[in-house]
């Protein structure tokens, strides 16, 4: 038990349910904390999208991944990044726009990335991160180390044309690419059946020649199984598509109260709680509530600390503003102020 509590290694496909539970709990708790930070107006960014309710997608697919695999996420990608082993402190401070964050405070929640973990980047453009995995998969195939590249996106992105162009190329070239649609039923205030007549999402991918499945996200072990099939298929040269059915527990943004959803739908949706479901399964399997509470507390403590870390971190220095537009060593763009001063100081 203890080593599970202390470990923050990404759970693998043969980790037990307890490890998956912990991975999901860490996401749930992180999102709770970042939501509070945001509501207190202490996070940078006017937009914050929580993945609460989608933890099994992040953890289940992550379990089918291995070192060297790369991935892109969308605007609701905290969970996936955590499942892949992200440092929650540096995540929290990046979301807070602090210099100690993953992207030195320049990216924030929607543009977080970490090359060392294969995270090629979150994206604020719906569908924007999808084609990059085709390129990364192309390279993975060249390098021949058996790695895959996975794009994570929401059901709303199913209506972006670039997804079909990307899946077609991946199929044409037999690339180790996987397209994971986290179907939380909603895209802002639009329910999936208000965005398309074709709600059996995997059928579209199948029509382009990919291995395609839809899995219910309630039980993380089901997601692990389906993801393992799809991801292993991709490693073997047939790109795949996986839709994970779940529910967006909160609003689109943390402040959105989802007035467009009925009480009934909210209640039914929240009933499909993958974290609670795993917890109950564990208790059925004889894990004591005390142990689970201990684990939850340890996770809470870990995540509370991220807030302190973020608060204690500095804002980025203004001198960093012109850095990173181009590579180190390249001249930085001339600041407008410098131009003005030179122009006016000419005499």
């Amino acid at each position: 038990m203890n080593e599970v509590i202390s470990s923050i290694e990404p759970a693998s496909s043969n980790s037990g349910l307890l490890a998956h539970y912990k991975a999901m709990r860490r996401i749930r708790t992180f999102e709770d904390r970042v939501g509070e930070l945001y509501l207190r107006g202490e996070s940078a960014g006017s937009m914050l999208h929580l993945s609460i309710g989608e933890e099994s997608a992040a953890v289940g697919v992550s379990a089918a991944m291995r070192d060297g695999d790369t991935f892109t996420t969308h605007h609701r990608g905290h969970g996936i990044f955590l499942a892949r082993g992200a440092d929650p402190d540096r995540m929290m401070s990046e979301i807070g726009g602090k210099a100690s964050g993953y992207c030195s405070g320049k990216g924030g929640s929607m543009h977080i990335a970490d090359m060392t973990l294969g995270h090629l980047g979150a994206n604020a453009i719906v569908g924007g991160g999808i084609p990059a995995v085709v390129g990364a998969a192309l390279v993975a195939k060249r390098r021949g180390k058996g790695n895959v590249s996975i794009a994570f996106f929401g059901d709303g992105a199913m209506q972006q044309g670039i997804l079909y162009e990307s899946m077609n190329m991946a199929a044409l070239w037999n690339l180790p690419a996987v397209f994971v649609c986290i179907n939380n039923q909603w895209g802002m205030g639009t329910r999936i059946d208000q965005a398309t007549k074709a709600t059996a999402l995997h059928e579209r991918a199948a029509s382009f020649g990919l291995n395609a499945e839809t899995v219910d996200g309630l039980d993380v072990l089901d997601v692990v199984d389906a993801a393992t099939r799809i991801v292993d298929g991709a490693r073997a040269g047939t790109p795949g598509f996986l839709a994970v059915d779940c529910f967006r527990f909160f609003g689109h943004g943390r402040k959105d109260k989802s007035p467009y959803r009925s009480e009934k739908e909210e209640a039914e949706g929240r009933a499909k709680d993958p974290v609670l479901h795993a917890r109950n399964l564990l208790m059925d399997q004889g894990v004591s509530e005390a142990d689970l509470n201990a684990l939850d507390d340890a996770v809470s403590a870990e995540m509370d600390a991220t807030i302190d870390f973020a608060k204690a971190s500095d804002e980025p220095d203004l001198s960093s503003m012109f850095r990173d537009v181009f590579a180190p060593g390249e001249p930085e763009p001339e600041p407008v102020q410098a131009r003005i001063d030179r122009v006016l100081a000419r005499e």
Binding site: A44, G107, I125
Partner: protein
């Protein structure tokens, strides 16, 4: 006089125009049930129904393309692009189709559509949700471009845009939505394409548009305290561009500054500065100075974002140096 918010003036314009013209309809992401990401279209779906307020899938290229086809077929679509930052996905339909159809087809037909969108900084929304991309539009022949700075213009420029025979890109500023002003919408508007002189001075002319007009006016207040009187011109539209008003004012003072939130290089400020210089050369005592956005992406960091675009302080400081 009643106070009205920029956001509500836009809604009012859509509401009034839709009642007048049954061929006008709205099409875009979240414009209906959700009421628009910034609440501009809230309630219109109840007023006009799903037939005239179409919530779409997240398919920007097809949204703009659908508007093009509907306009050619005789209706007057108002397509909404939630953020101007998404323009990059739609520029083929906007610039190769909408903008060129009348010309390519020898004048047989026009594309009377309005593409409503919003841009600019101020919400710490990051590099892909904070841009000012009006230069892409202004550079494209065949497109009209309006960028309202005031509540009054939010209403009247949109009403006028909805009477244009050609495609109009209408760019709102995300930081102005909540701005309220006492305004009498019954005052008849200036002609479409006319600039407005927001303040009259004798020392320097500042030419701007959209949110930066307010920064220029704030700067003008401060400068007045220091004995410097500036004229502030709000171009209101960038295509058509009312250059005559700019010329007259610049010829009076011999000094001009252009202020734009867009990246400086090859931006709107470059066009305005080049145009003022070539047309008013003999009157200029100083080079036209560009106070524009930095040539960098916008950070999510509040601190970095703020300094990525012109500030009232920089406008004041620059004006003082120009008059030193």
């Amino acid at each position: 006089m009643p106070k009205l918010a920029y956001r509500d003036a836009l809604k009012q314009a859509l509401n009034d125009a839709m009642r007048e013209d049954p061929d006008i309809f709205l099409i875009g992401e979240e414009v209906g049930r959700y009421g628009g990401a910034y609440g501009v279209t809230k309630g219109l779906i109840d007023e006009f129904g799903v037939e005239r307020v179409l919530d779409t899938p997240i398919s920007e290229p097809a949204i703009v393309g659908t508007a093009v086809g509907a306009a050619m077929a005789g209706m007057r679509p108002v397509a909404e692009l939630m953020y101007v930052d998404f323009l990059g996905m739609t520029m083929d339909q906007l610039c190769n189709q909408a903008a060129k159809i009348r010309y390519m087809f020898g004048g047989q037909i026009g594309v009377p559509m309005v593409l409503r969108t919003q841009g600019g900084t101020g919400r710490s929304a990051g590099a892909q949700h904070s841009q000012s991309l009006e230069a892409y539009v202004m550079h494209t022949p065949g497109l009209r471009l309006a960028m309202p700075a005031t509540v009054y213009d939010a209403y009247h420029l949109l009403r006028q845009a909805l009477k244009q025979p050609d495609p109009v890109v209408f760019i709102e500023h995300k930081s102005l939505y909540a701005m309220s002003e006492e305004v009498d919408l019954t005052v008849p508007p200036p002609d479409w394409g006319k600039a407005a002189i927001r303040r009259q001075g004798s020392d320097l002319v500042i030419v701007s548009y959209s949110r930066q007009v307010h920064y220029a006016l704030q700067a003008a207040e401060e400068l007045a305290k220091q004995g410097i009187e500036v004229t502030v011109i709000d171009t209101r539209t960038l295509n058509p561009l009312d250059f005559e008003t700019i010329r007259k004012e610049v010829e009076k003072t011999g000094k001009a500054m252009v202020v734009s939130e867009a990246a400086m290089t090859c931006g709107v400020a470059a066009e305005l500065a080049a145009r003022i210089t070539e047309e008013c050369f003999d009157f200029l005592e100083e080079p036209v100075v560009r106070v524009a956005g930095e040539d960098i992406p916008i950070s999510v960091s509040v601190a970095l974002e703020k300094h990525s675009v012109p500030t009232p302080e920089r406008i004041v400081d620059t004006a003082r140096k120009m008059l030193a």
